[in-house]
Symmetry: C2
Subunit: 294 residues, 2 copies
């Protein structure tokens, strides 16, 4: 079963990468902008958000073709957020996954514009897609802009910056993660469920589950920054601490952080138990996110 | 008649300002982000793009209520572009209209996020509006993202940066302005016409007219940078030259630039003559944009 999941993830990564590159090819834009966009899209993230959207749709017997445009738009938004987040004015990172960050490869102005462009184009992709009715397009755009906007991801970014070098509580840290990464995870799974016509009350359960999954993802990120393998995580161990980032281990210590992760896992699985559908793939994601080494 | 135009502009500015502030009030967001967004929205631009959209709708007997959400979204996109354009990595401006730019008032990270937030929220505003059918929302979002995206405004920004300190032709300069400012002018007037159900061939004429109006706006901007009154334009005379910006006077000299402006005016008016509607207000905009002193 683990093998099935690995195959599913690899296949989805391959397909989403191909579709994103094909889509960028259809857009006419200046050479330097194109280079910069391709660079960051090709940088090869894990494509977790598209994978979660596809997996949710699969769990409810959805049609993959209906999922891809929304998944691509979501990954474009995620990519824009990384480009802007790496800028000197923000996290000031020179490398991401062992490759130069966009502004180091090009320059700050190009990176700002590449991010702005990806963000804008993500909405155009949905609006111009042939896979959706107008009603579906409006729903997806409304949810995506809410998840990414000033009450969502952008709010999380600013709260994260404000919290640096301050002592915050676990509740505050959870809130930052919910906004900064959770909202896009929730969008991924909610839209996967919406496009398979899952009923609204089960959709709410999926959103609750996605919230926990986001926290598991983040807490494992923090754990890897303390006890991970540099070659695998693609950045120096301890870099969060060096940047005075707020992390679970900073607030709870590493042992309690590992215990907290187990609590999130149990909560995630107990939410799934309320769903009357085939959920084995979703349970596997809980373990995958908890146990990942990069 | 000039008085009517002045009243129309003042009324529209007042209404759009009020509606934008009311709309921002409905959004829940962190305090610092809110301060930063309000600061730039309140900075009180001329609201030219919303005014053009309203004026176009008025010329075709449209309903103002249908126009405002699209006009607000457009102004939010314009405001985001100014915030990002002023950043040290881009134009590096400390003042805009005599007030500190967003990143000088706050900091670079906040300004980047405020811009990202406004851009994202502009699409949410359309998607959640009560004034449009789903079909209209999709049309507006498609056109807005096209005008602002990598084949539109963002393309213009990067070409403008690349052209700095180079010698470019008038055709190249016109292309940069078409992308950088023209596309949003065209969007303004096209949507004003679309929402009043103007037929597609007249809509094409309106787009041609908006293109010329954008060039008139820009050429007058360049002229004011050479012969304007600092107190009125709100920045030092000669600042384009200092930044090695490509301008009409740099390429053509000031006398030929004034002659070129007259040619654009004649072309704009001859396009209007093909339209079988009351067009006096649109003709007035040609003169207003040509003769403005700030």
């Amino acid at each position: 079963m683990k093998d099935n999941l690995t195959i599913f993830i690899k296949d989805t990564q391959k397909t989403i990468n191909e579709k994103l590159m094909l889509y960028l090819d259809t857009l006419s834009m200046p050479f330097r902008l194109k280079e910069s966009l391709y660079y960051s899209i090709e940088a090869g993230g894990k494509r977790l958000r598209p994978i979660l959207m596809l997996a949710t749709s699969n769990a409810f017997k959805g049609n993959d073709n209906k999922i891809y445009p929304a998944a691509m738009a979501l990954e474009m938004i995620h990519t824009y957020s990384l480009i802007h987040d790496d800028l000197p004015a923000m996290d000031d990172d020179d490398y991401r996954r062992g490759k130069l960050t966009n502004h180091k490869k090009f320059d700050d102005a190009t990176a700002i514009l590449a991010g702005d462009g990806l963000l804008t184009e993500s909405f155009r992709l949905i609006a111009n897609s042939n896979e959706y009715t107008d009603e579906q397009k409006v729903y997806i755009i409304s949810k995506l802009s809410e998840a990414a906007g000033v009450s969502g991801m952008v709010a999380g970014q600013i709260l994260d910056i404000e919290a640096e070098a301050k002592n915050i509580s676990i509740d505050e840290l959870e809130k930052i993660h919910l906004l900064k990464t959770g909202k896009l995870f929730i969008f991924a799974m909610e839209i996967g469920a919406y496009l398979t016509d899952l009923n609204p009350s089960d959709r709410d359960l999926i959103k609750e589950f996605a919230t926990k999954l986001g926290l598991i993802f983040q807490i494992q990120d923090d754990i890897l920054d303390v006890i991970g393998d540099e070659a695998k995580i693609g950045k120096p161990v301890g870099s969060d601490q060096e940047k005075a980032k707020n992390t679970f281990p900073k607030i709870l210590g590493i042992d309690e952080t590992v215990a907290q992760k187990k609590r999130y896992q149990r909560e995630a699985i107990s939410i799934l138990e309320k769903l009357n559908v085939e959920k084995s793939i979703l349970i596997e994601f809980v373990h995958l996110f908890s146990d990942r080494d990069n």
